[in-house]
Amino acid sequence: MTTRTLAVVSAGLSVPSSTRLLADRLTTATVAALRERGEDATVEVVELREHARDVADAFVTGFSNAALRAAVETVTGADALIAVTPVFTASYSGLFKSFVDVLEKDALTGKPVLLAATAGTARHSLVLEHAMRPLFSYLRAVTVPTAVFAASEDWAGGDGTSAELSGRITRAAGELADVVTGRPASARPADPFADVPSFEQLLRGEA
């Protein structure tokens, strides 16, 4: 059985957070969907709260420290990514974007990604489409069609919204599993030293 690695980035700040709760449900559903397709998965969660200072330090110093490098490698080396952010001031949170800013520009090229967000009101739900999806399109990630948004009312239950959230989670997880199982197991990101042009090419202006 093929074993896939699934990286989960959660930008929730409170402990516990509804962002992490949504991330966990998406993760469970994705692992189940992979199993249904005959594949196993190992899950690695990156809680950005734990790296808030590391990320700020990386901006100031120009390099990621050891702890942040490990988190970045978890994300860039995975077969698929589940990215979940709270909505802050009409967009992804600053910490979420800052973490993405630390990644090399090609680090997520071709990576299957499931997008998700949480907020206090459903009126923010298009943040997934006007902020999250364009960000990952720029990075040339392969985002699955269903992005999952959960507002406070989705957790409340009772009036059918919870059941709808579960449906969206299952659909999104299935889409992610479909993309992942159609691919060879992830290779680690390209080695920047592996394809340095020869000096003859540099002299000819080919690089």
Partner: protein, 365 residues
């Protein structure tokens, strides 16, 4: 192995007093630091090139010529000379002139410069950074190595029957180091020509430096200049010392916390763990510096940054005393004992002239 200091020539407010030195004051301070470097027995003084405040050093050859006149032994170098925005013809002329004035005590480190707005001030574009470094250096080599040069390229007017003057001293051009923090192409360039590679080292984790140096060494061997461990490697380092380690930390912390490059970010302790910065006793600096060899191999030049972030001149001179009296003599001895015989010493003009005289046929092109 050579030991020395390199300065970026920043004019920075002393965060402990709020006082900013004038340009005149800082320029005199750097001259004093250079003279002191020779006095305490260091081998190398390297000066940066910048064309924007808060840096003063727009014209390193002028400054180094003055230092040359006031010293006898000190090797003069740069950190770095901008190969992208300077006309290579002017670099060839200026550094050959400096080489004559300094009796051969000159080498230079080429760098691209990372400040976008500087490029257009000199008619260039930072997006051409690598191609400029490649073409300009190819021309610089020809100007030094060939008496008469016909040349045309992409970035400057063609040359017909041009002779760069003065000719390099004794027919041997200044040794060239190529400095780069993150571009493997520059390590490849250094390897192609059999030149030195200098890793700034001080602002990034050691794994990064290790990878760059490994790459340069393997390419040096690939291009036929010798075995990988015979490649010419230089490293930066950053230290602050007091006899008592805790005193060093307490005194340096306000400078660290406010420093232009990394201030307001990680703690001094975190940054010391992640990068080669060493703040502590002379013994700690000795041990840390000897440890560099574990991940880059035997190397030829170690330069320390000691005069930045607003540190007062008096403090910098004390640092040089400690380096010269307690640190470098031990490092010299320890590194020499570890170095195998087939690994070359740091290049000097005298040694390169002698080497050329021993193999007259193959190099005279």
């Amino acid at each position: 192995m050579q030991f020395g200091i390199f300065t970026v020539s920043d004019i920075t407010t002393d965060p402990t007093t709020g006082r900013t030195p004038s340009e005149a004051e800082r320029i005199q301070a750097v001259l004093t630091i250079a003279r002191k470097a020779e006095e305490v027995g260091l081998d190398v003084f390297a000066l940066g090139e910048h064309h924007n405040p808060p840096f003063f050093s727009s014209s390193p050859t002028t400054t180094l010529a003055y230092v040359a006149a006031q010293t006898q032994r000190l090797q003069l170098s740069t950190s770095t000379t901008l190969i992208t925005t300077n006309d290579p013809v002017k670099i060839a002329e200026d550094y050959a002139m400096l080489q004559h004035l300094a009796g051969g005590r000159v080498d230079l480190m080429l760098g691209r410069g990372n400040t976008g707005p500087v490029y257009p001030w000199f008619g260039q574009d930072i997006r051409n950074g690598i191609p400029l470094a490649v073409e300009n250096y190819a021309l610089l080599r020809r100007l030094w190595d060939d008496e008469v040069v016909d040349w045309s390229g992409r970035f400057r007017t063609p040359l017909q029957g041009f002779t760069s003057t003065p000719r390099p001293l004794d027919g041997v051009a200044p040794f060239v180091w190529h400095g780069s923090i993150r571009s493997p192409q520059i390590a490849e360039q250094a390897a192609y020509y059999g030149d030195g590679f200098f890793s700034n080292h001080i602002f990034w984790p050691k794994e990064h430096t290790q990878r760059m140096v490994e790459f340069y060494r393997s390419r040096f061997e690939h291009h036929g200049h010798g075995s990988a461990d015979q490649a010419i490697v230089g490293l930066g380092g950053q230290v602050f010392m007091r006899r008592n380690s805790q005193d060093a930390v307490e005194e340096f912390r306000p400078y660290f916390d406010d420093a232009p490059v990394y201030g307001h970010g990680p703690s001094l302790e975190d940054f010391s763990r992640e990068t080669p910065l060493t703040v502590g006793s002379p013994q700690q600096v000795i041990e840390r510096t000897l440890g560099f060899r574990d991940y880059v191999g035997d190397y030829q030049r170690q330069l320390f940054l000691v005069d930045h972030a607003g540190l007062p001149l008096k403090t910098v001179l004390e640092q040089l005393d400690i380096l010269g009296e307690e640190v470098v003599p031990v490092l010299r001895k320890e590194f020499a004992a570890l170095k195998p015989a087939h690994v070359p010493d740091a290049p000097t003009h005298a040694a390169r002239v002698a080497a050329r005289q021993n193999t007259p046929e193959e190099v005279s092109a």
